[in-house]
């Protein structure tokens, strides 16, 4: 099967610092791919390159949907519209908005009523807004948060804020979902639930997932393939078994004698 996302020799420099150097990555439809590495290895930078927040200094980043898209030439909101959704390492919810509004906002790229419909509350506004509301509540239900739909997102407990971020990303109806440390700060029980949830939504929504995670139980538990970054360079790739026993990876994480 052809890949969904390819990074070809991608680099990103900030001044003299090579945050990402000649990285090659392929993500195939339906896969869960892990991206690991020590702090400062360039994992989040790679996410920012894929989502258009940064422009690559070199190399090519392509999304292969119905048409092939050069991600270096698209802006973040266009990339989101093409079906790449993400969550953030340091949760970025719309804090003052309600839980429901956070999810409904993400449907924005799919709305089918015009500004005039919105201003004059025409029947087409009323119809699609109530349809949208129903879909958003349905989605929140999957995340066991439908009963909290009317409270501001900032009032949710930490673990649920992380889950809401995933729900919001799903509302965009993406093909590729990028998760930046989804299990950070969760206790073992929450982490186990999260793993089940990720597996479940992948099948339910037909997703391809690329995830950054420090919790090895998550990475080894759900990823089919893993890429390892260190100082901006790709030092290993393979199945969880390969990675566990790869001497270079062990060196990167534990240092040399």
């Amino acid at each position: 099967m052809p890949p969904l996302l390819t990074a070809n020799d991608v680099s990103k420099n900030f001044g003299g610092l090579n945050a990402i150097a000649n990285v090659n990555i392929e993500v195939h439809p339906g896969e869960i791919v892990g991206l690991i590495g020590p702090n400062g290895a360039g994992k989040t930078t790679l996410f920012n390159l894929i989502t258009g927040v940064y422009i690559p200094s070199g190399g090519q980043l392509k999304l292969h949907g119905e048409v092939e898209v050069d991600l270096a030439k698209a802006s973040p909101h266009e990339i989101a519209g093409m079906g790449i959704a993400r969550t953030f390492q340091n949760i970025r919810l719309f804090k003052e908005m309600t839980v429901l509004d956070n999810v409904m906002l993400a449907y924005h790229v799919h709305i089918d009523y015009s500004l005039w419909d919105a201003i004059f509350h025409t029947p087409s506004y009323i119809k699609s807004e109530s349809e949208l509301r129903r879909k958003a509540i349905e989605l929140l239900d999957i995340f066991d948060m439908a009963n909290k739909k009317d409270i501001p997102a900032k009032n949710l407990p930490y673990g649920q804020q992380r889950r809401l971020e995933i729900a919001r990303a799903l509302a965009l109806q993406p093909k590729l979902l990028l998760l930046d440390e989804p299990a950070a700060g969760m206790n073992p029980q929450e982490t186990a639930d999260l793993m089940k949830l990720i597996m479940w939504i992948k099948d339910r929504f037909n997703l391809t997932i690329l995830l950054i995670e420090h919790d090895m139980s998550v990475v080894m538990g759900i990823c089919q393939r893993i890429y390892v970054l260190d100082y901006g360079k790709l030092i290993a790739e393979g199945t969880p078994e390969d990675i566990k026993s790869n001497p270079q990876v062990i060196k990167a994480y534990l240092g040399e004698d």
């Binding site: 909101h77 719309f94 449907y107 924005h108 009523y113 500004l115 509350h121």
Partner: protein, 318 residues
Amino acid sequence: MADKRRNLIRNIVTLAAIYAIIQLLISFDIIDQHLQLNLFLLCINIILAVSLNLITGFTGQFSLGHAGFMAIGAYVSAVMTLKLHLPFPLAIAASAVSAAIVGVLVGIPTLRLRGDYLAIATLGLSEIIRIIALNIDYIGGASGLADIPRYVNWPWIFAMTAGTIIIIYNFIHSSYGRACIAIREDDIAAESMGIDIAHYKILAFTIGAFFAGIAGSLYANYFYFLKPNAFGFMKSIDILVMVVFGGLGSITGSVVGAAALTLLSMVLQDLPTLRMILYALLLLVIMLYRPQGLLGNAELSWKLLKRGDKDAAATNSK
């Protein structure tokens, strides 16, 4: 759905009642010339505050240039009715559209600015507008324009004020409004959710300026008289104070803020010095004890009224 229809009917009845009662009071001269002047000023301030709230409160773009947009509307309307003898409906439409065009023009170069920097840029722009007006002899220069025909009456003021509130309220409660609020909350996240930030920032400026233009037109064709200094820095600050006083992010708040501060000015207009001191004190008290403004981001609604004041206070303080 039935609930929605009932609320719609209630809203229409309430609006009609407000309109009729005030119209009657004006006809029987219970609202005399002096009161009427302040009432009209109050409504113009409501339009200004609600439209600035869309830009600053909901979209989070700190603007100090609202008086500039108002000035554009006022001068366009004055010139069209006084110099060109065109009908007022055409003049008010042209005022709104020209202010909106300037809004787009301001929106584009200031897209990369945020916070204080944006405030300074918008302030600069409104000063440019004022100084241009000051230096064009055709529109009277520093002495301004006099004898502008008075076309504005209660039906006009009422329709424009109600229209502004309804349209901006509807906008905020749609997907487009959510996009604006999301930009205020976290622009990076909004962008990653597919929101074209530049587009919505400009849209907010455009709609806000459109209604400020209407306010300017109403002002010009009610008060007979226009001069550039009426649209200085202090006017922008006045509008901003109303918005902050009522609560950034609450349309009801802007209405309340505009009403409260206009009435305060009216009551104290014989004591100009004391007025400024009280004004400042009031602001200090609000900022110290209720920094989110009177209403925070809560809106007045039928549901809220039914639940009673106690619950309303509880939701507000959250």
